[in-house]
Symmetry: C2
Subunit: 146 residues, 2 copies
Amino acid sequence: MDIDKLSSGTCSIARSLALVGDTWSVLILRDASRGMTQFDQFRTSLGIAPNILSRRLKGLTEAGVLEKRRYSERPPRDEYVLTQAGREFLPIMAAMGEWGRRHNGGGAKLSHLVADETGERVSAVVIDEVTGRRLDQLPMRLVMPD
Amino acid sequence: MDIDKLSSGTCSIARSLALVGDTWSVLILRDASRGMTQFDQFRTSLGIAPNILSRRLKGLTEAGVLEKRRYSERPPRDEYVLTQAGREFLPIMAAMGEWGRRHNGGGAKLSHLVADETGERVSAVVIDEVTGRRLDQLPMRLVMPD
C-alpha cells in the first residue's frame, strides 16, 4: 500500500484511509476519544507491541489526527490528544460500531455511545445532509472526478 | 493484530474492524459498490498484487461482506458481489469520504456520491437516530459493557 499515492489520488475515501486506514490506528483513536492520552494507557488497553504503538502514534501525529504534547520534562514524557480532525472521526467510529454490532455482534453485550448531557444512548445513522434521507436506503453511486 | 480476539471482544467498533479493518479491504468494498465484481477489475483499479487481492477477497467473503459466485465453469471463474452487510458499509464509506475531503483534501477535485434517482450530490453526515442531532456536535463517550 503506497500511502503517498493514496493520499494524493482523487478518491475522497482513499484520502481518508491514507490518514487512518488500519485497525490499530482506529483503535488508538477510539481510546483517545475515551480520554486516554499516554503511551502506557494505549499499550495496556490495546495489548499492542510498543514499537508498533510508537509507529502508529507517529503516523497519526503526522497525519494531523493526534497532537503530541510534552507534559513532563524530567523524565521527558509526551501525551497524545485528538485534534479537531481526530474528534471529527468519532462519528464515523460511531457508525462503524452500529455496523459491527449488526453484522458481527453475535448477540453479545457490546460497547455503545452515550450523550454526555443526557446519559442517553446514541444510535448513529448516516444521512444525506440535504434531503435527510438515510444513506442505507438511498441508491447511490461514487463518481470519480474527470 | 489478533483478528479473532478483536472479533470476540466487547467493543462494537473493534467488531467492525475485525471484518473490514484494513485499507485494501475498504477500497475493495468501494470498488464493489461501483459495480466491480471480477478479480481483474479490482486488480486493475487498485494496482494491488494478485496474492494480496486473493487474500483480501477471501477474508471479505469469510467475513460475510462479499459473496463469491461462480459465473463461468470453463474456465472456472468467480465473481464477488456485495452482501447486505457489504452494502450497508457504503454509508460509512460515504462519511469517511466527507472526512477525507475535509481533512486531507488539499483543495483537489475529489470523488463524491450522487443519488441514482435524482443525480444530486449526496453529502453524508452522521446523526443520532433518536434526537436527530449531528454527532460531530454532540459530546459523547464510549461505554464498555460491564
